[in-house]
């Protein structure tokens, strides 16, 4: 019996939802196999939470209430001994006809993998999947946050999966974004046979030379009896075209949760009200190359911050050659400051009360700017 199921059995409100035993691995794999269109991948978005599990969040946010935009219609708990999915819980979603017209109820579910992470899986068209994921995140905010990976995190996860499966993964780099540009760049690899595509190591070396940040990879197995093809992005989105669901879960989804959770943990206990000496413990983000050298760099950084929907900011000093600004998370009212240090560092400094999630979310937003996606959170000194 799933540990997660034991956690939700005693919850009164959960009584509204049908809880059924099932073989999660079998259901998930048949979900992939029976998707409506072969050329449309299964969409997976990974989320993490620091304090509450998904079902606790769902109860607190009344996600079990039928009649909203979407709700939990049915919950499946595992009866199998599957090593990867055996301890998971699957929550099938229902959605109103106004919100997502034309889809049946069994086309999307939330897979609760472990207390700190879950993913939303659907066979929707990408735009509709994004709409559902975005609304789910808004509903659970600030309890859950989207996973986020730097290009180095992505490289580590892909390399490790590649070594484990011996797939000889190749990369279609026409899906990789170039640093400093929002538009996708069609590099010279487009249209070539799989064997001629670059390996993950080769591409990463080339990226270093080109100083490019790759935030989206299309990975294809060149040597595998079982076809394998996925798209993997730095925002924790996976499109699964070919491959087993369990494999994706163990090789990609779980590591993404682990990396993202670790990041949130690194933002913990840093505000002045949480430290013993009542001094803030700032977070430092290092970049491989110079990013903040010109007034234009500062302007584009401020423009990017302006796109962050959950903050107000106050610019104390801009340019010449540093930037210093205060920020306030409008959802949680956490406050922190941002400073450029030299031309290749950013410092996020918490104030009296700052939640780790608000800083992590903001840091993730900063690093989602393609040219900054190489940023690494520096170890504590």
């Amino acid at each position: 019996m799933s540990l997660l199921f034991l956690g939700l059995r005693d919850r009164g409100k959960w009584g509204k939802v049908g809880i059924l035993p099932g073989d999660i691995a079998l259901i998930a794999n048949s979900f992939v196999k029976n998707r409506p269109q072969k050329n449309r991948g299964i969409n997976i978005d990974v989320f993490v939470s620091r304090t509450n599990s998904f079902h606790e969040l769902a109860i607190s946010k009344d996600l079990v209430k039928v009649g909203e935009k979407f709700w939990i219609a049915e919950t499946r708990t595992s009866v199998d001994q599957n090593a990867i999915l055996g301890n998971s819980v699957m929550h099938f979603l229902g959605y109103s006809e106004d919100f997502l017209p034309g889809y049946s109820r069994l086309q999307a579910f939330v897979l609760e993998l472990e207390p700190r992470g879950f993913c939303i899986v659907s066979s929707f068209r990408r735009a509709h999947h994004d709409k559902l994921a975005r609304n789910l995140l808004m509903k659970l905010y600030p309890g859950a946050t989207r996973a986020f990976l730097t290009s180095r995190d992505m490289y580590r996860i892909i390399s490790s999966a590649n070594k484990l499966r011996k797939y000889d993964l190749r990369v279609r780099t026409d899906f990789a974004r170039e640093s400093g540009e929002d538009e996708e760049t069609a590099l010279e690899y487009h249209g070539k046979p799989v064997q001629e595509l670059p390996t993950i190591d080769g591409l990463f070396r080339a990226k270093k030379n080109l100083r490019r940040s790759l935030t989206m990879y299309k990975l294809i197995a060149a040597q595998s009896k079982i076809p394998f093809e996925i798209t993997f992005t730095g925002e924790g989105h996976i499109s699964l075209y070919e491959g087993g669901f369990e494999e994706i879960t163990s090789d990609y989804v779980t590591p993404v949760i682990d990396v993202s959770f670790e990041r949130i943990k690194r933002f913990s206990k840093r505000s002045m009200s949480e430290t013993i000496d009542k001094k803030p413990r700032p977070i430092e983000i290092d970049f491989e190359s110079d990013q903040f050298t010109t007034a234009g760099d500062m302007k584009s950084l401020i423009a990017h911050i302006q796109k962050y929907s959950h903050c107000n900011y106050s610019i104390v000093h801009s340019g010449n050659p540093h930037l210093f600004m205060y920020l306030m998370d409008s959802k949680e009212h956490s406050t922190f400051s941002l400073r450029t240090l030299g031309s290749d560092k950013l410092i996020i400094s918490p104030q009296i009360k700052t939640s780790p999630e608000s800083m992590a979310r903001f840091a993730d937003h900063l690093l989602s700017l393609p040219k900054l996606s190489d940023g690494e959170i520096a170890p504590e000194d």
């Binding site: 903050c311 900011y313 920020l327 400051s337």
Partner: protein, 377 residues
């Protein structure tokens, strides 16, 4: 110099915009003063051999001896320049007066005006700096450090001032007469090109050691005064210091501190408004921003009066209202529409000051008149 016809008609919006720009510059300058105070303290802590301490920020210097070397009588109201930062040795024999200069504006007419303004200010320094009274009333011998921090090479800025003086007043050799140094912001990237491992601020000497026969002056002459910028920024973010002297009386800096440092810890109302009393803010201030000198409330970083003034200003500009008890304030939550809180605040304060004549239309009008004249030159 022949003056062009003066432009006297400005729209309300232009006037407010000009006042808002002034407020922004003033606020930035204050931030830098605090920051550099910490930098200098940091340097002096690491170099106890120089026997100097930061004695005041933003005080008015008074000449104790007149131009002819005679002792001035008490009650003489002649005043010298206002310092941004003042360092003195422990025997009060010597001091360094530091003047921080903001960036020159990009708009040509404002730039010319700013140069003119700098010259006016430099003239107040253009006197014998032996025998000025410091903040403690003691008479000392001072040297002056001018610290511009703009993207132009600092020498270019000095050259601009000198060029202007040469053209307008060839007899006036204002600069470099007295012990005088320029502390400038060395472009960080160019410093890196010189393979220096650390980013530094430098005091660039200009005859300082020749005229001032004391240790730090000699040191600066020989070695420059170096401050490790990276560690300074890190310290600024890790320390609890936010105020080094009285903030500008437009209250903008204090309002920013209330919202962005204390805001997270204050109560919230149903519409996300901040609910607070002056006492609540002061309790947090005492807990998290202790006095510079322990147990000396006079050196409290955040004075009660500054917070009260800021709350009153927020009320005046319509961003706060008092509840029935007259003690509790409701501060408006920043809106999603106006994410740039500071820009909004500059505008609102400028509007208020302009409307109530506290900073009135005089500033921008004078600026335009002067700018018109200067453009001709």
């Amino acid at each position: 110099m022949e003056k062009l016809p003066q432009r006297t008609e400005l729209t309300d919006e232009e006037v407010i915009q000009a006042v808002a720009s002034d407020l922004e510059r003033e606020n930035t300058r204050y931030y830098w003063t605090v920051y550099l105070s910490i930098g200098l303290m940091d340097f002096l802590e690491r170099h106890p051999e120089y026997d100097m301490k930061l004695t005041s920020c933003g005080t008015r210097m008074k000449p104790a001896i007149d131009e002819d070397g005679n002792q001035k009588t008490e009650g003489d109201d002649e005043v010298g320049p206002k310092n941004d930062i003042l360092l003195q040795d422990t025997k009060n024999l010597h001091g360094i007066l530091i003047e921080i200069k903001t960036s020159y504006p990009e708009v040509e007419e404002n730039l010319n005006f700013a140069v003119q303004e700098d010259i006016e200010q430099l003239k107040s320094f253009d006197r014998n700096v032996t025998g000025w009274k410091g903040a403690d009333g003691k008479v000392s011998e001072y040297c002056i450090i001018l610290m511009p921090y703009h993207e132009e090479a600092p020498r270019a800025a000095v050259a601009r001032i000198q060029y202007y003086l040469d053209a307008t007043d060839p007899e006036n050799r204002l600069l470099f007469i007295h012990p005088f140094a320029i502390w400038y912001w060395q472009q960080l990237t160019s410093m890196k090109k010189l393979s220096l491992s650390k980013e530094i601020l430098q005091i660039f000497p200009s005859g300082i050691g020749k005229n001032v026969g004391w240790k730090l002056g000699e040191y600066i002459e020989k070695h420059f005064l170096e401050i490790d910028l990276e560690s300074l920024f890190r310290r600024f973010d890790r320390e609890k210091y936010r105020f080094g002297r009285e903030p500008p009386n437009n209250c903008i800096y204090t309002i920013e501190v209330i919202y962005f440092i204390f805001g997270g810890a204050l109560r919230r109302g149903p519409d996300d408004q901040i609910i607070c009393t002056l006492d609540e803010i002061m309790t947090l201030a005492e807990e998290y921003f202790p006095p510079w000198i322990p147990d000396e409330t006079k050196t409290s970083q955040l004075q009660r009066k500054w917070v009260r003034d800021a709350l009153v200003m927020l009320e005046n500009i319509g961003m706060a209202r008092r509840q029935a008890d007259n003690r509790t304030y409701e501060l408006a939550a920043p809106t999603k529409r106006n994410k740039d809180f500071s820009a909004n605040l500059y505008w609102k304060v400028a509007e208020y000051l302009n409307k109530h004549g506290k900073r009135g239309a005089a500033t921008p009008l004078r600026r335009t008149e002067e700018a018109t004249t200067l453009r001709q030159f």
